[in-house]
């Protein structure tokens, strides 16, 4: 069984997708009450701090097609990939390529335990679930990917899988909505 990657956008770009730069985010502590509480410890109104996002990486994709994508050196501006996650994703892809889908899912779950907020890992797991004929879990995993997407491209990929998964569950309206969000 061949495992066909659907990261079309990502793959077409032949990306060695290294980490995105840390994203600024809203990290605010809730405002303390003015007087209601007798003596609340002073809490700064707004604390803003850069978020350390999980690193998102990809390897040169091992594709079913024979074409070889030459591994590219990450540009210096991009942080190197986390070797553990890269190793596990590669392992998962090898397992998937030999039809060991359950093992591949297990490897991806190992990777997710290391970088739970890496949207690409959830995306990849969603793909496996699709191939395993489990569209409902594929949809849910892809929704996790949507949640953790730090990049518009990934988010659209995720919605694309949500659309596929909903389609095969017979959820036509839901699929249409997801396709719209995927920009398809």
């Amino acid at each position: 069984m061949k495992y066909i990657l659907r990261f079309t956008v990502v793959a077409a770009a032949g990306l060695v997708l290294a980490a995105c730069a840390p994203l600024p985010t809203h990290q605010t502590l809730p405002p303390a009450p003015q007087q209601a509480e007798p003596a609340p410890p002073p809490v700064p109104d707004v604390v803003v701090r850069p978020l350390e996002m999980p690193e998102i990486h990809d390897q040169p994709l091992q594709r079913a097609a024979p074409e070889v994508i030459a591994p590219q050196e990450p540009t210096p501006a991009l942080r190197p990939a986390s070797p553990a996650v890269v190793a596990l994703v590669n392992r998962a892809r090898l397992q998937a390529d030999t039809g060991e889908l359950d093992q591949a899912a297990a490897s991806l779950e190992r990777a997710i335990r290391i970088e739970p907020q890496n949207a690409l890992l959830w995306l990849e797991l969603a793909q496996i679930k699709l191939h395993q004929g489990n569209p409902s879990q594929a949809e849910q995993m892809a929704l996790r990917a949507v949640r953790f997407a730090t990049d518009d491209r990934i988010e659209r990929e995720a919605w694309g899988i949500v659309a596929l998964a909903r389609q095969s569950q017979g959820d036509i309206a839901g699929a249409a909505e997801a396709r719209r969000k995927a920009g398809q």
Partner: protein, 799 residues
């Protein structure tokens, strides 16, 4: 009956005829008897044959399922300090040896560790043994290299054993395959017990005769003369008495076994059947388990002197017990070592040094089942797919989610905090009880579970079997339901904290009270939750509808009470600690319900995958509404009912939490989560008596003690889709321009307050966005200027 020759008669022919007839009769009788005897004998042998074949047909023994904790993953950036690593190596029975020359050894050189990892069959395949160099700095793995100094992405240690499910006849063994048995063990065993094993046919008549002669001379049974096959027949099928009949049976069975099965199979059976000791009620069978039991290591890692000890013990496991009779055991070991030297199994030059070695057995019998409460949970979850008999007999390997490090810290937190509270409050020592669970948020894996204040005691499991009122822990369910309707509720919606009386059909009107017995008037929603005000929660619950609250509870993964009375809004419902954990887990994941798991996978006795319990996810709540609720729960820790937590956990972690206290302080609860883990703690008394403890004085300290020792990731995830930030004046429930005092707060997308309050134009006061005076100083959705957020921008663009 013996045949007897007839004397020939010399008399008459008649007589001759008679005697001839008689002779013929006797001969016939004789043949018949032989035939009958032969039939009986063959029937008996056939029966023995059947017994043998039956025993060998299936699994030879009932093999208890072995339960493993998670395997430690080692990779760059893993939160593993030197202390954590060394504790893990100790759990696994690795020993420190210069250069880490063989599997199961390690060595430390400064900050660098040399680890010689054992090969181990995980669910998804075998991890080969190998040498790794890892460097640890600042409590984490800084670098991972292999033996040749090449970078390594990730590797796993073997999984620590945490227990077994024993059969009723408590024999235990670790199955040792013939091919996997160390050659030295086999050679030594044969040299000592049965030199001609590979030549004979199960019985050696000369040896039996010699033994019989010796026994006759000495007048008692001193020598066995049994082959390994005979010993196996005796162990597998026969009672231990020493009669001649049994001896014959044993010999016949030995012949049958040799006829039916290969030498290797017989030897493998012997290696696993031989009795080598006793651990309380548990009988230690086979060299595999004996190695773990006496040396805490797999048999492949034993040194020649250790193998000699085990082989020597075959002669009498209790007589030569190395723990109870070390002198005898040493003498016996040295005899075996001499045999090994004579046979050329070891270098004779080493004999002296090997014979002078210590026995090297562990002082205490192996690792005892130290996690009874977690094992109960494992059993519960396995019961859906496996019968009790499967668990006790099929030799399954069960890989669980238990993280021994997290468990260690949680146990320590419970056992150290309860006595401290009792002492501080002059309570009778030993009266408080507790239960606690810690879960990894993103995988839904239960990492630690404590069922009572004595975590090693396998008794009543308060985490699973005890149901307690949840009190204020229900409030987030009410508020998440309310915030799911952004047309009516936001974090700063003013709620009324004022007396309310609720008419209930069929019972007395109900007037809920606050914990402090006061009413404080109007209050924004997030403060009402952070300070756990009862009356506003009841008002909100009544407003949105009891059916909505009930449905929300179900969405969070717990059964709602039926019927749902208004009093349930203050947590009159009774839930187990595990259920409460499931409920809060759905909050911690921002609305994704995942059945909490204690088991990852199951392998059969041959290491083949049987079943995997994969991660399963279901979005059941609106992520934006949960995000807002969690924001208020973070407020509870920042300055609300759980603010004492800030003494223990850095505020930068941004813990979200909720305290709970039930009527007259019978139950103290705390549920809280960081960026990576959720913990729920209950403290109370078994007799359901009053403790005088609140959630924050009773349960929170246990939570804090456990989490202070763990690696906590901050809760700093970017807000989900559907959240917009706005700078607001909370009291006025209005937006403010950036130059005014205000708070940046999250709102459901499209539902930021419409009113605008401009501090520079105080005369005009409120400004309405669609009113006459639009001067564009305030954008419809003000964003903090210091916070450019391109992602959010793109999100909105593509939504």
């Amino acid at each position: 009956m013996a045949p007897r020759k007839q004397n020939p008669r010399k008399n008459s022919g008649q007589k001759r005829d008679k005697s001839r007839r008689f002779l013929r009769f006797v001969v016939k009788l004789f043949i018949a008897l032989i035939l009958v005897g032969g039939v009986f004998l063959s029937l008996w042998i056939a029966k023995l044959d059947r017994d043998v074949q039956q025993r060998f047909a299936g699994a030879l023994w009932a093999l208890p399922a072995k339960v493993y904790a998670r395997a430690l993953e080692v990779y760059e950036g893993a939160p593993i300090s030197a202390e954590v690593l060394e504790r893990e190596l100790q759990r696994l029975g690795y020993r420190q040896e210069r250069g880490a020359p063989s599997p199961g050894t390690w060595y430390r050189q400064g900050r660098e560790y040399l680890l010689h990892v054992r090969s181990f069959t995980h669910w998804d395949g075998r991890e080969p043994s190998g040498l790794y160099r890892i460097r640890i700095a600042d409590g984490q793995i800084e670098r991972v290299r292999d033996g040749n100094n090449h970078p390594v992405g990730i590797f796993r240690l073997d999984a620590p054993t945490i227990g077994s499910f024993y059969p009723d006849q408590p024999e235990d063994r670790i199955l040792l395959r013939y091919e996997e048995a160390p050659p030295l063990l086999i050679d030594t065993l044969l040299a000592v017990e049965d030199r001609r094993f590979f030549e004979h046919h199960g019985v050696v008549p000369m040896a039996i005769l010699r033994a019989a002669l010796t026994n006759l001379v000495s007048g008692r049974t001193v020598q066995g003369g049994s082959t390994i096959t005979q010993q196996l027949a005796k162990n597998l099928f026969l009672s231990p008495d020493r009669s001649y009949r049994r001896k014959v049976t044993e010999a016949i069975m030995a012949l049958i076994m040799e006829y039916r099965y290969s030498k290797e199979m017989i030897l493998e059976a012997y290696l696993n059947e031989v009795y080598l000791g006793q651990d309380g009620a548990r009988a230690i069978h086979g060299f595999g388990l004996a190695s773990e039991f006496y040396f805490g290591r797999p048999i492949e890692e034993l040194s020649p002197d250790q193998i000699a000890l085990l082989v020597g013990m075959v002669k009498g496991a209790s007589y030569y017990n190395p723990r109870r009779n070390p002198e005898r055991a040493t003498l016996r070991r040295n005899v075996v070592l001499s045999v090994m030297s004579e046979e050329g199994l070891i270098d004779p030059n080493d004999l002296g040094s090997l014979q002078s070695r210590e026995l090297g057995v562990l002082p205490r019998p192996g690792k005892a089942g130290g996690n009874p409460a977690f094992m109960q949970l494992v059993r519960q979850q396995l019961a859906r797919d496996y019968s009790e008999d499967d668990l006790r007999s099929r030799g399954l390997s069960i890989f669980t989610t238990l993280d021994p490090e997290v468990q260690y810290h949680l146990e320590k937190a419970v056992t150290s905090t309860l006595p401290a509270i009792e002492k501080q409050r002059n309570m009778e020592p030993g009266t408080l009880e507790s239960a606690a669970i810690i879960v990894d948020i993103d995988s839904g894996e239960i990492q630690a579970l404590v069922g009572g204040r004595n975590p090693k005691f396998a008794g009543f499991n308060r985490a699973l079997d005890s149901r307690r009122q949840i009190g204020s822990l229900i409030k987030p369910a009410i508020y998440v339901a309310a915030l799911s309707d952004p047309t009516r509720y936001s974090l700063i919606t003013p709620l009324l904290d004022q007396e309310i009386t609720i008419e209930q059909p069929g019972s007395k009107p109900w007037t809920p009270r606050n914990y402090d017995n006061q009413f404080i008037g109007e209050q924004p929603l997030y403060l009402a939750l952070a300070q756990s005000r009862n009356v506003p929660a009841v008002r909100v619950g009544m407003d949105i509808g009891l059916d909505v609250v009930s449905a929300t509870l179900e969405s969070m993964g717990v059964p709602a009470p039926k019927p749902f009375f208004p009093s349930a809004l203050l947590g009159s419902q009774e839930l187990s600690l595990l259920q409460v954990t499931q409920m809060y887990h759905t909050l911690a994941t921002e609305g994704f319900w995942m059945p909490l798991r204690a088991i990852r996978s199951v392998l059969d006795v041959d290491g083949q995958p049987l079943q995997r319990y994969s991660m399963s996810v279901q979005r059941t709540l609106d992520p934006a509404a949960v995000y807002l609720t969690n924001y208020a729960l973070q407020a509870a820790v920042s300055f609300g009912t759980a603010r004492s937590l800030n003494t223990y956990i850095p505020t930068s972690i941004g813990v979200a939490g909720k305290t709970g206290t039930t009527n007259n302080t019978r139950d103290a609860w705390f549920a809280g989560f960081t960026g990576n883990r959720l913990g729920v703690v209950w403290v109370g008394r078994d007799d359901n008596g009053e403790t005088g403890l609140t959630g924050s004085s009773g349960a929170l300290p246990v939570w804090a003690a456990a989490f202070a020792a763990l690696d906590n990731r901050p809760r700093n995830l970017d807000a989900p889709q559907g959240i917009t930030w706005a700078r607001v004046d909370i009291e006025r429930n209005a937006r403010v321009p950036d130059y005014c005092d205000g708070h940046l707060m999250p709102f459901a997308h499209g539902y930021v307050p419409e009113a605008v309050y401009d501090c520079r134009k105080q005369d005009e006061g409120f400004r309405w966005p669609f009113g006459s005076n639009e001067d564009n100083t305030v954008s419809p959705e003000p964003r903090p200027q210091s916070q450019p957020d391109p992602i959010e921008f793109f999100r909105r663009l593509f939504r």
